[in-house]
Symmetry: C2
């Protein structure tokens, strides 16, 4: 992804991401509906895949309906290459994966989408050109197509309900491709304008709270007092708290205390 | 997933998988198009999610078009529950996630789809009921909806092209949910009727090949012979080979040898 080429069209449209020369090529084999070619382009863009090849599209190419269905991923369609046979479409590539829900009578390595994505990334980093075959909407890839592939890809999905449409099959592969280089932590606190409170800021709030609770005699039972204070401390440190939230909590405590003082 | 209840409809339709009481509930908030509710049900079935709730569907409920679009996941639609507000839809649940492409001005934990799926599985195993909110097609969840969630979920995707349709957003979450308990190895050789050859079977073939090559004098250079034999051995052990393929290779070697003998 580091080559610095970006996906802009002949007419200078929106930039939808950087393209790597060795990023995998999505190869649609004998697709039937132009809409599905368009939604495939959209799914590719979601995952940062930009090279599209089309083998023997049933209704010819180009087809305006594909562009309508692509939700703005038309740069991928503009650059798509069309071939008559799978052999032609893969001739300059080094390694071919073929998506295939239920391979039968085939002796071939089968990988998960996640496993295949990792291998595609390794190949790309080695400067090998790779391709992923997706079959036609109803029938899927035939045995001749699969014999052209080095490796089959089968997604782990509910075995009683495997049916995916073409764009969804492409989306899962594109998503896994994107994740191979994504560094997003599984969980992080979004704090926007504020920051996570320091322990000192939290301690300051706890002192305020305990002081006001002492004033009301809420903590008058000397034997239970340490445990009650500890429980409150546990509660307020269960998750991260931001400085802004502490300010609000200071305000809430002061407001309740003042209201009480005014009443008495 | 172990409760043994299966997803069959009132009229005894197809079984599309086992339902866990504590599996996450997919909650569509103010969905606009019935088709999208149907394709959502399909995506849920793909990943083994079966509990659907719908909050204030724009065009009312039920809507026949949802069933047409569900590709056979109609059991999920049959069992879908409709609520007027998000508060009503989440009242009996313990933990809420909300999918949200670009949260702003929110102080909230944000997880990846994969991180959230892992937490959903842990919660389910602890007997907690969880829900995942998905917003309306165009606007997404509003700030009030997000304030009901414990955690936001943002998928790592191409930042220049994040747009997903509703069913695709649900599919990625359902796929990650399915993977949390999936044990498929990243790569395995599909051998079907045959089996991976033993080292003895491979050695037997190598002996056959070398014997026939010796007969032709292909290996006559005594100095180069060990390296050439080793290279052939490297080639034939690069990937797994099946017993059936070895039989074919034995046949190929014999056939070529015999043809040669007959010519000479």
């Amino acid at each position: 992804m580091a080559e610095g080429v970006t996906m802009t069209g002949r007419d200078g449209g929106a930039n939808i991401g950087p393209i790597g020369d060795f990023d995998p090529v999505v190869i649609l084999v004998r697709p039937q509906l132009a809409e599905n070619i368009g939604t495939t382009a959209r799914a590719m863009a979601n995952g940062g895949l930009f090279h599209l090849r089309i083998v023997a599209p049933r209704d010819g190419w180009p087809q305006e309906r594909a562009w309508y269905a692509s939700s703005g991923a038309d740069r991928i369609l503009d650059a798509a290459q069309v071939f008559e046979t799978v052999d032609d479409a893969v001739a300059d590539l080094h390694r071919i994966f073929a998506t295939c829900p239920r391979p039968r009578h085939v002796i071939k390595p089968v990988m998960t989408a996640r496993g295949a994505a990792a291998e595609l990334r390794v190949a790309s980093n080695r400067g090998l050109r790779t391709g992923i075959l997706f079959g036609p909407e109803r029938a899927g890839l035939d045995n001749e197509d699969m014999a052209r592939a080095d490796t089959l890809v089968r997604y782990p999905l509910n075995p009683k309900f495997m049916s995916l449409n073409l764009a969804q099959a492409v989306l899962i592969m594109a998503y896994e491709w994107f994740l191979t280089e994504d560094m997003t932590p599984p969980r992080e606190l979004m704090t926007n304008e504020t920051h996570v409170a320091t322990k000192g800021e939290m301690d300051n709030f706890m002192s305020h709270l305990i002081r006001d609770l002492d004033e009301t005699n809420f903590l008058r039972n000397e034997q239970k007092r340490p445990g009650m204070v500890r429980n409150l401390r546990h509660f307020f440190t269960r998750g991260e708290v931001t400085e802004q939230e502490l300010r609000t909590l200071h305000g809430v405590v002061s407001e309740l205390s003042n209201a009480r003082r005014n009443r008495s």
